[in-house]
Structure formats: structure tokens, C-alpha cells
Amino acid sequence: MRYFYFPGCTLETKAVGFNRSAKEAAGALGVELVTLPEWNCCGATFPLSTDNVLDLAGPARNLVSTAEAGGDTLAVACATCFNVLRRTNHFLRKHPDTLEKLNAFLERPQPYAGQVEVRHLLDIFVHDVGLEAIRRRAVPGLGGLRVAAYYGCMLLRPADEIALDDPERPGIMDALLAALGAEVVDYPHRGECCGAYLTVKSPEASMPMSYRILSAAGRAGAQVLATACPLCQFNLDWLQARLRQQYASYQPLPVMYFTQLMGLAFGLDPAGYGFEQHYVDPRPALAQAGVLGGIRSP
């Protein structure tokens, strides 16, 4: 299986461990991710005003590039990039007038016709590779590590455009983690917003949003929380560095990318997964659960 792959800006910097683990975990399942040539930033938010056509040009350019390179699918790891690219594609398919404008603006040899499918890696792993194949490959597995699957906004909403899972009761990441040998915990707030970009100007508003999620997952017995979004990862992780400073008794909950857990479950070498960049280092919790033992080279 071979797909064009869109890393996005944050996976090249703050979330290099997400990028690396995504590619290696995919490789272990026979999925080759070919980085899209000359990809550009998706814009990080889908423009919500009807007269904002220009902000669609950035994400649209990636769709055109995929089509030009002969691809029919653009695979995305970052939940936010996935959301923006998928919504843009959906919008262009429904608005031929806007598509025509953008084609004229982008001046590419072949006009884009909406033929590319934007898909998240979770979708590709669970539906193209399949849970049974993942279960077979999951040696040594996660040994019953208790994981809270956190979805946030971008993998779920708006449901008619994203169409990956039930927006009120999502389960695709839980199914993947269970196939890796994790014990997934049931907890509320799994699809609620972490505060996203509010953290830039109004951390006093975003921090309680992040805390509710962490607290619910912790109370449900999670040893780690899994995410697919670098901004969720940052918000949930960064807050805990502050909580630890403030409250000596605070019990930290490592926030990991689901692909890092895949790499560990497949027995891949996690060097380069960037654990040392996390504010809450996941290694003690992983070692305690016996998940960091038995590592072998890829």
C-alpha cells in the first residue's frame, strides 16, 4: 500500500516524534508513506466566512499537487491538517464556482476537479490494513497499558464533512489501541476541545478545558493519553508542567501520539520518537507498565 503523505508544519519541528513514529509504524504494516513533493502549510484553521476564498488556496494547492503527482489519496497524520484539507476538499467539490476561481489563481497545468481523497492515518490503518493484521503485527504489544484515546475536535467535526467516526461516541482510536494490546479506558470529554489556539492569547480559558480532559482520563485509570493532534498534545502536556510546579501531589498523565504507541507495540526502536521533548516524559510510566522492555531494532 502506497500513499502520498502530508506531514504539515508542526510535524517537522515540535512534533518530529509524531512524524517519525507515524512513518515507521506505517512501514511496519506495509504502508509506504511518500511525502508529498513541495507541500505547503494547510493554514491551521478552516476559513469559516463565506467570502474568504483566498485562505482556501493554501490547502487547495496540496490537493492539486497530489493529483498532479498521480495520487488519488492524501494521507495525513496531524488531525488539524487532516480537518482543514478534508473540509477544503469537501467545499471545493460542492462549490464549482470557487473551484474555478482557485484553479485560475493557482495557474497549474491541470485544473483540480476534486478527485483526491483526504484521509487520516487512523482511517488507513483501521480500514485498509485492518485490525486483524494490526493485532498480528503487535508483538510485543502494549501489555495491557491503560490508555485513554482522546479525539478532540478535528478528527470528528463537522461529522458530515469529516465522516471518520461518530462525533458523540467515537471509537476508531480505541479499536486501534485495543488491537495493539492496550486496555482502553472509558471516560467522558474524549471528543471535547482542549482549548486549541485560545492558548495563544487566553490560556486562562484554554487551561480549564484541557484540565477537564486530563482529569477525566486520570480518574478513569489511564496511564497515558493518546492523541493525533500536535496542538492538543501541546496544550494537554504543557499545562501539566505548570500543575506540577503548583501542586507537589499532582499525578502527571503522559500525552502521547497514537503512532508512538504503535511503534512501541510493534517492537520498533523508539529513539527519535522525541519522548525527551514531552513536558511529562512518558518513559517512566511506560517502563512501569513493562512496555519499554523488550525493545528490538526495526
Binding site: T13, L48, A159, G195, A196, Y197, P208, R212, F234
Partner: protein
């Protein structure tokens, strides 16, 4: 507080522009309150999400633009997912933010941000934040 509601205000140019930019019919909302009940940012807001719609319905656009609520909406789409009338409230909030910035300028002074925090943030946060808070 005395509030004068007039046909002129309800049918004002401002209301028309908000409906055009958001692509939403504000009169579709019948105030069941599901948006406000489920909004994860509601505790930071001075007005609840459905109260913002109510102000626009009544032509009280200035009051909606003065509210801090529009800046605490993270466009998480929870309200839209649950709205029985299919009102895309995140689009309405976006239209109000744009209008507020057209009238009063950017909501964020980049030079005033905490430099230490800036060094920690993923650039995804900035790009999204600058898009929402500046024109």
C-alpha cells in the same frame, strides 16, 4: 438597562452582512440552549453562545461585538454538531469576529505576547491564533 428594539435595527445592514458572511439565517435559532449547554469554553464567556444569536436576532449587533464571547469560541464545532436546527454557530462567531476587527482593529498585539511562551508553542498554535485574532 433599557433596550430599544426596532424594525430598522432587526433589518439593519449589519445583520444582513453578518448573515451573508456567515451564510446563516439567524432566525432559524429557537433557543433550545444546546449550544450553550455543551460549549466547553462557556465558563470563560460573558454571554452564552445562544445569547449572542439572540442579540443578532434583535438587531443588537453592537452588544454582540462588545461581548468577549466571540473571542473565547475556539470553533470546536460542538454546538454545530448538536444544533437541532443546523445553525452553524462557529460561522456566525467568525463573521462577528471579522466585523469586530474591521471596526476596531486586530484583537491581538503580537508584540505583547509572552516571548518565553512563544518559544514553547507549536507554530500550529500561532498560525491558527493569528488567523482568528488578526486581519
Amino acid at each position: 438597562m433599557r433596550v430599544t428594539i426596532s424594525v430598522e435595527q432587526v433589518r439593519s445592514e449589519w445583520v444582513r452582512r453578518i448573515e451573508e458572511v456567515s451564510g446563516q439565517d439567524v432566525m432559524a435559532c429557537y433557543h433550545c440552549g444546546k449550544c450553550s449547554a455543551g460549549c466547553p469554553a462557556a465558563e470563560a464567556m460573558d454571554l452564552l453562545p445562544n445569547q449572542i444569536i439572540r442579540l443578532v436576532q434583535l438587531g443588537q449587533v453592537e452588544r454582540a461585538l462588545e461581548s468577549q464571547t466571540i473571542w473565547y469560541c475556539a470553533a470546536c464545532q460542538t454546538c454545530y454538531a448538536r444544533c437541532p436546527k443546523g445553525v452553524d454557530l462557529p460561522r456566525l462567531m467568525e463573521a462577528l469576529r471579522e466585523l469586530a476587527m474591521q471596526k476596531r482593529g486586530d484583537h491581538l498585539e503580537i508584540a505583547r505576547l509572552d516571548v518565553q511562551a512563544l518559544a514553547e508553542f507549536p507554530q500550529q498554535a500561532f498560525i491558527a491564533g493569528f488567523r482568528k485574532y488578526t486581519t
